[in-house]
C-alpha cells in the first residue's frame, strides 16, 4: 500500500510538468498581443509596450519564460504577475479559490446527499412509480441547459417568491451560495442518481444478496452494508472526477450568480490572454485532479476488499 502511494505520487511529477508545459504552449500560441490590448481602441506607444513586456519577461524566448515561470512556482511559490493590473497571480488565485471551494463543497454535498438518496429510492423500487418519477426528474435536469436552470431558479426564488438574494454579494455568505450550488450540482446529481439506481438494481439480484437475506440478516444491514458497499464503486469514481469539474467548470453558474470564482477567472484569462494567471489556475486544478484520483483509487480498496494494491 505504502509503495503504491509512493509510486503514484512520483507519477504525478511528469504529469504535472507535462500538463503545465502543454497549457503554457497553448496560451502562448494564441494569436494577439495581450499588452497592446490594454490600450483599448487607442493607439499605443510602441516604447511603452516594449517596456511592459520587458518588465514581465514577455520578451524572452519561450523556453526561458517557461523555465522562469516553473522555477518561480517551485522555488518561491511565485506564480508571476498579471499583465492586466500588475497584481501578483498568487493574490488573484488566493481570492478566487476559497470562493470556488465554498461553492464546490456545497454543490458536492448537494449532489452526494440528494443524488445517492434518490438513487437508492429508485434502485430499491426499480420499475415502480417512485423509480419512474425519479427517472423523469433526472432526465429533465439532464436536458435543461445550465443557464436556463440558473435563470429559472433566480427568477422564481429571487423575484417571484423573494426567498433568496438574486446574486452572491461580496461577503460570499453560505446562504447566498445555496442557489448557485443547486444549479451547479444539479446535473451531476442526476448522473449520480442514475448510476446509483442502475448498480443497485443490478446488485439486488446478485448471489451474495440472496445469501445475506437467506442468512436472516436484518434488511437494514443487507442494504446498508452488503448492497451499498458493492454498488458505490462506479458512483465514487464519478464523484471523484466531478470534484475537478465542479471547481473549474462553473463558468456559466458563476456568471449568472455573480460568484467571483475560478471559472470566471479562467474564461477571462483566456480572452485576455493572461498566460501566467491561466497556467497558475490550471496547475492547481491539475493537482486537485491528481490528488482526488489517487484518493479514489485508494477508496476502491476500502469498498471492495478484493482489490489490493501491492
Amino acid at each position: 500500500m505504502g509503495r503504491y502511494v509512493a509510486r503514484r505520487l512520483l507519477q504525478m511529477i511528469p504529469v504535472f510538468f507535462g500538463t503545465t508545459l502543454l497549457i503554457f504552449l497553448m496560451v502562448y500560441s494564441l494569436p494577439g498581443d495581450p499588452v497592446a490590448g490594454l490600450f483599448g481602441d487607442k493607439g499605443a506607444s510602441p516604447a511603452t509596450i516594449e517596456a511592459i513586456k520587458h518588465k514581465l519577461g514577455l520578451d524572452q524566448p519561450l523556453w526561458k519564460q517557461y523555465w522562469d515561470y516553473m522555477s518561480g512556482i517551485i522555488l518561491h511559490f511565485d506564480f508571476g504577475t498579471q499583465i492586466r493590473n500588475d497584481r501578483p497571480v498568487t493574490e488573484v488565485l488566493g481570492d478566487a479559490f476559497p470562493v470556488t471551494l465554498q461553492l464546490a463543497t456545497l454543490a458536492f454535498a448537494f449532489e452526494l446527499i440528494f443524488g445517492i438518496g434518490l438513487g437508492i429510492i429508485a434502485g430499491l423500487r426499480a420499475g415502480r412509480l417512485a423509480d419512474n418519477s425519479i427517472l423523469i426528474f433526472t432526465l429533465l435536469i439532464i436536458s435543461i441547459p445550465v443557464f436556463v436552470l440558473g435563470y429559472i431558479i433566480k427568477m422564481v426564488f429571487a423575484f417571484n417568491l423573494g426567498w433568496i438574494q438574486p446574486n452572491v454579494s461580496n461577503d460570499q455568505l453560505w446562504s447566498e451560495m445555496i442557489a448557485p450550488a443547486v444549479v451547479l450540482g444539479g446535473l451531476s446529481l442526476a448522473y449520480v442518481a442514475r448510476l446509483t439506481r442502475t448498480t443497485m438494481a443490478e446488485n439486488l439480484r446478485a448471489d451474495y444478496m440472496r445469501t445475506a437475506i437467506a442468512k436472516g440478516l436484518p434488511r437494514r444491514r443487507v442494504i446498508g452494508v452488503h448492497l451499498m458497499r458493492n454498488s458505490m464503486i462506479p458512483v465514487v469514481t464519478f464523484l471523484g472526477t466531478d470534484i475537478g469539474a465542479l471547481m473549474g467548470g462553473a463558468i456559466v453558474t458563476e456568471r449568472i450568480f455573480n460568484v467571483k470564482g475560478v471559472g470566471g477567472l479562467i474564461a477571462e484569462s483566456i480572452t485576455r490572454r493572461e498566460g501566467t494567471t491561466l497556467v497558475g489556475l490550471v496547475t492547481i486544478l491539475v493537482i486537485v485532479y491528481l490528488v482526488t484520483s489517487l484518493l479514489i483509487d485508494l477508496l476502491y480498496a476500502v469498498l471492495d476488499p478484493r482489490i489490493r494494491y501491492a
Binding site: 494577439g32 511603452t48 438574486p166 458563476e254 450568480f257
Partner: protein, 542 residues
Amino acid sequence: MRGATHAKWAALATAVALAATACGGGDDSGGGGGADGIVSSSWGDPQNPLEPANTNEVQGGKVLSMIFRGLKEYDPKTGEAKDMLAEKIETTDSVNFTVTVKDGWTFSNGEKVTAQSFVDAWNYGAALKNNQKNAYFFGYIEGYDKVHPEEGEATADTLSGLKVTGPQTFTVKLTQKFSTFPDTLGYAAYAPLPKAFFDDHDAWLAKPVGNGPYTIDSYSKGSQMQLKRWDDYPGDDKARNGGITLKVYTDNNTAYTDLIAGNLDLVDDVPAAQLKNVSADLGDRYINTPAGIIQTLSFPFYDPAWNKPGQEKLRQGLSMAIDRNQITETIFQKTRTPAVDWTSPVLGEEGGFKDVCGDFCKYDAAEAKKLVAEGGGIPGGTMKISYNADTGSHKEWVDAVCNSINRALGNNTACVGNPIGTFADFRNQVTTQKFDGPFRAGWQMDYPLIQNFLQPLYYTNASSNDGKYSSEEFDKLVDQANAESDIPKAVGLFQQAEEVLRDDMGAIPLWYQNGSAGYSERVENVTLNPFSVPVYNQITVK
C-alpha cells in the same frame, strides 16, 4: 415517495429563506438616509493600477473622478472646461503657458497642493520607465521625446518644458502651437499627485490618496471599494452623500438584477438584453444620454487596392448604403444615435458638433449603388468588415451593416463580417495593418474638444490613425486650427478639416454611443457626465 421528495425541497427552500432574511440586514447598501447615506454602485475590476496617467478606461476612471480634481474640471452637463484648481492659465503665443494654482487646496492627507505637485505628477506620467498608458498626453510638452523616446533609452528624467517658478506657479512650453491646450487639462492624467505617491508607491496603490471630494476608506481588489465623503474638501462640488461603495460584478446582467432586487443603487451600464424591460422595471429611473463615444468604419489606406484615386466615391457610396436609423433602433434599442459627423453631440454646437456629413450619412440605396459603381466598385468584389467577437454586440451590428450594404447594392456577396476571436488579437491585427478590408473603430474622447475627435485619428501618422488615412489639406487645417488663439475660429477651422475628411470619406461615421444608467428609488439626482461616468458627488440619498 414523491411527497417526501417535495417535503425535502420545501425544507431546503425554507432554510434558504430563513438564512436570507437573517443575513439580509447586514448589507452595506443600507447605511443611513439623507446627507450621510451611502450609495452603492456597480463596478468592474479596473484594468490598470489606479495611477492617474495609467487609467484609460471607465472603471478606473470612476474612482479617479471621485478622488482627484485637476486644474480644470468639465461641467457634467455641458462638457465645458471650467477652472478648478487653476487660478489662471495665461498665454500670449499659444506655446508658452503660465499656470497659477489656487491657494488653499490640500490632499486628503493634509499635504498642500502646489505647482510642484503638478509638475512631479506630469513628469512621472511622461517618463518611459513608469510604463504609463496615457503618457502620450504629455507629448505636446517640450522634452517629451527625451523622456519617452520612440526607441531606445530615455535621455532625460524630466520634461524640459515644465518649470516651477513659484510655490503656486509653473510654466509649460509646448513643441507646437496648441491654443486649446488649457481645456485639455481636465483629463485625469493631468491630476496632481502627493509626495506619498512617490515615497511609498505600493502603499499608495493599495489605497490611493488624492485631492477630490471623496477619500478611499477601504479597497479590496477584485471585489469592492468603499469611498467616504471628505468633509474638509475645499472645492465647491462637495459630495452630497455620505459615500460611495463600488461593487464589482461578474457582468452587467447580474448588476442589473441586483438593482431590481434592491441590493444596489446605481447601475451605469444597462445590459442590451434588458433594454426592453427597462421602462417596466425602472420607469423614469433610467438615463440614456449621449456620451463622447463614436463608432466608425475605418478603411485600410495602407492597402493599394483601397487607396486609388477616385475611390472616395466608393467610400461615400458605402456610407450611403448603411441604414443607420434602422440599425440603431432595432439592434441598439436607441442607445446609439445615427452619426451626422465625425465628432460627438456632447461637444455642443459651440464646441464644433455640426451636421457635416449631410446626405452622405443618409440611407439612399439608388445613389449608393451609383456612387459605388463610379468609384470602381468594391476591390475584389467582396469586402470583409473585421471586428472582435468577444465583447459588445459587434457581431449583430456588423451583420446588419453588411445586410444593409448588400441590399442597397443588390449583391448578396458585396459585404461579409470577419470576426476575430479576441480583442487583443483584433487590435494586434489592426496595429500591424493585417486587414485587407474595412474594420470597426471606436473612439472615446479624452476631453470634450473637437481636436480630440480629429487629430489623433486622421492626422497623418497620428497615434490612433490605424487606417493610415493621410491628407495634406486636412493636416494643414488642423495645424492652423491649433495655432488659432480665437476659440470659435479654431473650431471653424477644425470643421473645415472635417469637411475635407467628408469629401475623402476617410472613415464612415456610424453612430454616437449613449451612456445608460438605472438607479433605485433610494437615490435622486443621478446624471452621467459626457464620459458616461456617473456624477457621484451630486447623487443624494432620500
